[in-house]
């Protein structure tokens, strides 16, 4: 699709979510996809995002991600909510205990606590179908039960632009406005709109990060792409999977499905 069509559909979805839910929030990892999603939210509401922006802080994020977060939060006037599982961080939970457990405790459970505290009934998330086989199965509006479980074997009917907008009183709905975008589209859009991106995406000494996560579990790829144009060119020919540098996806087969079934993003 043309960038304009991608954008129009995403804005429509964001406005639907805002109209249908009492207390939505948007998740922001500070990466390219969720920063694009924040920008689309700004466009949907003519500048000011009328709901909180949640950043899940595992304590293991790269220093540059925190800097990028704080600068942009100020510049865009974001109502930032930082979700941290302090208890687990203080108890020393980390990837050494297993990546599956670490992701579950520091990300999924941190988010659960945040939801409980703020009573959000919808979470806008920047996942895309082309990132991972399991994300290709997602709906635009996807219900999660009170325990965050994704009943992936019984997903709602979602035809045309009619979404299921109620998950249950103690549950929430995940909203995925850029589900139909490709990685290449995101970068072309970043360029077109002049969006700020974390400098870690650009190559330094022959390596760059293609997907950003926690420092211990994210590795860079070999690349010489030092500008957005060069990234776009690289993506047109690459055969390397986008999340190849993300350890939690690869630990075992179906780890991603299991993580997501438990409410991982």
């Amino acid at each position: 699709m043309e960038l304009k069509d991608l954008e129009n559909r995403s804005i429509y979805i964001i406005r639907e979510a805002f109209a249908e839910f009492k207390k939505p929030a948007v998740l922001w990892s500070t990466g390219k996809d969720s920063t694009t999603t924040l920008w689309l939210c700004r466009k949907a509401f003519f500048g000011r995002i009328p709901f909180p922006v949640i950043h899940i802080d595992t304590g293991y994020k790269f220093k540059q991600m925190y800097e990028f977060r704080d600068n942009l939060a100020r510049e865009w006037g974001l109502e930032l909510v930082v979700a941290r599982n302090e208890e687990a961080i203080n108890a020393g939970v980390g990837p050494h205990e297993g990546k599956f457990e670490c992701c579950t405790v520091l990300k999924t459970q941190a988010l659960m606590k945040c939801l409980e505290q703020h009573r959000f009934d919808a979470l806008i998330l920047a996942i895309r179908r082309d990132e991972h086989g399991i994300r290709a199965k997602e709906r635009y509006f996807s219900p999660r039960d009170r325990d965050f479980k994704w009943d992936y074997k019984n997903q709602p009917l979602e035809m045309w632009d009619q979404y299921q907008t109620y998950a249950g009183d103690e549950a929430h709905t995940r909203v995925h406005p850029i589900l139909h975008w490709r990685e290449l589209d995101v970068w072309e859009y970043v360029k077109q709109e002049g969006l700020p991106v974390n400098p870690m995406y650009f190559a330094k000494d022959g390596r760059r990060y293609r997907s950003l996560g926690c420092e211990p579990c994210t590795s860079p790829i070999d690349s010489s792409a030092g500008t957005i144009d060069e990234i776009v060119e690289e993506l047109k020919v690459t055969k390397i999977a986008e999340r190849s540098g993300r350890a939690q996806d690869k630990e075992r087969a179906f780890t991603m499905q299991k993580l997501r079934a438990l409410g991982y993003m």
Binding site: G47, G133, A253
Partner: protein
């Protein structure tokens, strides 16, 4: 050009395998993924399957069947989003979810089995969705020795099935997704076949030009932006111009477009698909549809529709909710005209008292005031979903509106 393709057909006729084959032969599989699948196959003590590129749930691999729809993208002459749908009756709602996004359908029929239950049902359902472009792949030609007689036999039966759903002159492609014949690469094993491969057929698809249509704008919400009221929504058909006089229904308000707003700017005109804001001196609300004052949307409190039910049972006189555009209204099933078997498309009963899961019917709905259009004229406002207990339980199209 962007083309959305849905692959439909009966279970085990090779839909997922066909998509896996398209991805594999077009070199769209990420590095290392083939090894991963190989390892998985060993773990599950199976042979390597192209379908494993698509079926991502472990239950799908264990049970060797597709449960939910998947969208994958790959680049040919066009940029394709290919949607896989499950071939089991129990997953029809997932099939409809996938098929409702498509411009083109590819019906996969196994050469050795021919027409089966889901072959018929899927063909019936895509007709209801208004999908006009259709190709048939007669798959598993390897199993029948690549014989032309088998193709002819299947082709004659499938053609007459499709003709009953108003699909004429549908191209048939004999192939084997497993062996790679005529999917992405031309096969040398069927010298008697001179037609295109599947990818050649898809590459030559022409989507209908957008015809000129009357303006319809669907209201999503009202925002206060810097002290100014902005009506936000989407242009679903036609063009919207600044300065134009618009009328909104069902609320009945009217006004002149002072500004077409987008973040950081203004537009002179907006076109189909645009998500915009209007500065206009009237109180339009969510659920309203607007049009030019000389050809306004028509409000109805009843219409004849065709609907398919996906869960439970629906009785005459039942009260439920219906959503069309952004408007959600209460409606009553005034009467069922005809119950239609969603497998054969045949009328099985006139004026039934109820319909059950997976059955279709022509239905007279009585609703709160609602702006709808005939599906044949403005499909975006001629299709609806049915909601009960906050669950989407059915879907349908508008055949005739009633005053």
């Amino acid at each position: 050009m962007n083309v959305n393709v849905v692959i439909i057909g009966h279970v085990d006729h090779g839909k997922s395998t066909l998509i896996g084959r398209l991805l594999y032969d077009s070199d769209s599989i990420a590095e290392g993924r083939v090894d991963e699948i190989q390892k998985l196959a060993e773990e599950y003590k199976r042979r390597f399957e192209f379908a494993y590129f698509i079926d991502a749930f472990d239950d799908e691999l264990k049970e060797e069947r597709t449960i939910d729809t998947t969208g994958v993208m790959f680049k040919g002459k066009n940029l394709y989003t290919v949607t896989d749908v499950p071939g089991h009756k129990e997953f029809i709602k997932n099939m409809l979810t996938g098929a409702s996004r498509a411009d083109v359908a590819v019906l996969v029929v196994a050469a050795d089995e021919g027409i089966q239950e889901q072959t018929r049902r899927h063909a019936f359902l895509i007709r209801m969705l208004g999908l006009k472009k259709l190709f048939v792949v007669v798959n598993k030609m390897d199993v029948v020795g690549y014989r032309e007689e088998v193709l002819n036999e299947v082709m004659s039966r499938v053609s007459s099935l499709l003709a009953s759903f108003d699909y004429q002159n549908v191209p048939f492609i004999p192939g084997s997704a497993l062996e790679g014949d005529n999917i992405y690469r031309k096969s040398g094993r069927m010298p008697w076949y001179r037609g295109p491969t599947l990818i050649e057929a898809l590459d030559s698809v022409e989507l209908p030009e957008r015809r000129e249509r009357v303006l319809r704008f669907v209201v999503q919400d009202n925002y206060l932006v810097d002290g100014q009221r902005v009506v936000v929504g989407r242009v679903v058909s036609g063009m919207l111009h600044r300065g134009e006089e618009l009328v909104f229904y069902p609320s009945g308000v009217r006004g002149k477009v002072e500004q077409i707003k987008v973040f950081g700017g203004e537009l002179e005109t907006a076109e189909e698909g645009d998500s915009i804001g209007l500065v206009i001196a009237c109180q339009a609300v969510r659920g309203d549809v607007c049009g030019p004052s000389e050809s306004p949307p028509v409000v109805t409190t009843g219409f004849l529709g065709e609907a398919v039910l996906l869960e439970g049972r629906l009785r005459a006189d039942d009260i439920l909710e219906l959503r069309c555009g952004t408007r959600r209204v209460t409606c009553r099933i005034k009467e069922f005209r005809e119950k239609i078997d969603s497998e054969t498309g045949e009328v099985v009963k006139r004026c039934p008292d109820y319909i059950s899961e997976h059955e279709a019917a022509t239905v007279v709905f009585e609703t709160e005031p609602l702006a709808v259009e005939k599906f044949a004229e403005i499909p975006e406002l001629g299709r609806f979903i049915l909601i009960r207990d906050n669950r989407n339980i059915g879907a349908g199209i508008v055949l005739e509106t009633m005053a």
